[in-house]
């Protein structure tokens, strides 16, 4: 067997994923495939959730970490309400994205999530226009062509007052929001 074809089986990866928040579901999938036929984004996925779960169970670390499956999940919960094993698949996808984020993976959805989070923590409420600008700025010059393609949509939104120029008023209890977040983050880390 050549080095290229060497199976990447890594049981420690399965164990590692089981330990993340919501990771206990990773090994419960029984491969019925209902999620795979349900997912609205399946056509664009490298692997539907069913296959991703099998790969996790088989310790296929490299392939799992390269899969675009979590990035395409729209959180519609269709798979989740149908799963006969009761696996909260969407919640697991959040956990997987969070795992990637902690590992330093770069992905547009993680950047968007971070920009959204920063906006939320700055005022306690999200400033949609500021967040949009922040997202494209942080993506760098490479994102300009993509942003330009959406110019017509943006202009219509502005014309119909759908993108207010001014941020929402800061929440009075912003200090509370920050304290709750910090404490919750610490509690989640302790994992109890």
């Amino acid at each position: 067997m050549s080095a290229e074809n060497k199976p990447s089986y890594d049981p420690s990866f399965t164990r590692e994923l089981r330990k993340i928040e919501g990771g206990e579901y990773a090994t419960q999938c029984m491969q019925c495939g209902l999620c795979a036929v349900t997912c609205p984004a399946r056509k664009m996925m490298d692997y539907p959730p069913r296959q991703l779960f099998k790969m996790i169970q088989a310790g296929e670390k490299d392939a799992v970490l390269k899969a675009n499956t979590p990035w395409l999940c729209t959180s519609c919960y269709h798979c989740t309400v149908r799963c006969p094993r009761g696996i909260p698949i969407v919640d697991f996808m959040h956990a997987l994205k969070n795992y990637h984020y902690a590992k330093g993976t770069k992905a547009p959805i993680l950047l968007l999530s971070k920009v959204f989070f920063d906006s939320m923590m700055k005022r306690g409420k999200v400033f949609e226009l500021g967040m949009t600008n922040g997202y494209f700025m942080k993506q760098g010059p490479g994102s300009i062509p993509e942003a330009m393609k959406q110019q017509d949509v943006g202009l219509e939104m502005i014309k119909h007052k759908r993108l207010p120029f001014f941020p929402p008023k800061k929440v009075k209890g912003l200090g509370q929001v920050k304290k709750i977040y910090d404490k919750a983050k610490a509690l989640a880390k302790e994992g109890h």
Partner: protein, 291 residues
């Protein structure tokens, strides 16, 4: 029956028409919905991606702690806000460990939640609290002959990851409200299918395809217009409709109204109070048909 109202960030910006028209319906039906003082963002569907679920639910739970002293059901229009607050509340009530942990986090801000509230979606409140009879009785201008595709959306009926107030696959409640207004709901099998959500920046092709299918379904059903209780569905079906026409070579001209906007029309609220200036696909031609 009074409610503690949680508008959410969308209702103050991209979904402003929802907020404006909600206030109109609030008055017309004597809902007595009062905004939760100093509410904060729930984190939508994205924050958990980088914080993990628990910290996001803890931050969202601050709103439950703030609403609790009033003792009223929390009323939410936005699908995503509903997911986070209803799910946090459900977990709080069913998982004592989670509840204790949430209160530990809240205590850092001097807050506490006792789990006494119910979190309710607007559609649920309209059908089950207000009731269809009362809605019918309030109609001044019946929407006779108007064919409506009722797009409930995905998260509104699946927030609890199990059936709640409506069917998780083929929701019917929105149709009942539309019927009470005198309009005719058309068969619309895409009622609880995803529009692509918040993937506008990260995978816009997905929005084109999924929202494209939803619009196609409404067109095939012969709908004059579409209604939704979800700011994200509204964003994709209204704001992106012309873009989808361009990209997919279609020719849709389907106005999309928030359900509260359509209710306002039947209640004969002033057009100014219903926020139609925020709608990109103009509903004026369709609405002019109503006598």
């Amino acid at each position: 029956m009074p409610y503690s109202f949680y508008p959410g960030c969308s209702m103050e910006a991209t979904g402003k028409a929802y907020h404006v028209s909600f206030e109109c319906v609030n008055k017309a039906l004597d809902l007595e919905a009062h905004e939760i003082p100093d509410w904060n963002c729930c984190g939508a569907t994205v924050v958990a991606n980088i914080t993990g679920d628990f910290p996001q639910l803890a931050v969202a739970s601050r709103n439950l702690a703030l609403a609790e002293p009033a003792g009223h059901d929390v009323l939410i229009g936005c699908s995503s806000c509903f997911v986070n607050l209803a799910w946090a509340n459900e977990k709080f009530k069913t998982d004592p460990k989670f509840a204790a942990k949430i209160n530990e986090a809240l205590s850092a801000a001097g807050l506490k939640y006792n789990g006494t509230l119910r979190v309710r979606q607007l559609i649920d409140v309209l059908v089950n609290d207000v009731g269809l009879e009362k809605i019918k009785a309030r109609v001044v201008k019946p929407l006779t002959g108007l064919k409506v595709a009722c797009y409930t959306g995905c998260q509104t009926v699946r927030a609890l990851r199990r059936p709640d107030f409506d069917d998780v696959e083929y929701p019917q409640m929105l149709d009942k409200i539309v019927e009470a207004l005198g309009a005719t709901p058309v068969p619309f099998p895409m009622a609880a299918r995803c529009c692509g959500g918040s993937q506008q920046f990260t995978n816009v092709q997905l929005i084109y395809e999924l929202t494209g299918s939803v619009l196609e379904c409404a067109a095939q059903a012969g709908a004059d217009l579409m209604v939704t209780p979800c700011p994200m569905c509204h964003m994709n079906t209204d704001v992106y409709q012309r873009k989808i026409n361009k990209v997919l070579g279609r020719n849709y001209d389907i106005p999309v109204l928030f359900i509260t906007q359509l209710m306002g029309v039947a209640f004969d609220c002033k057009p100014k109070e219903l926020g139609f200036e925020y709608n990109i696909v103009s509903p004026s031609k369709v609405l002019a048909k109503i006598k």
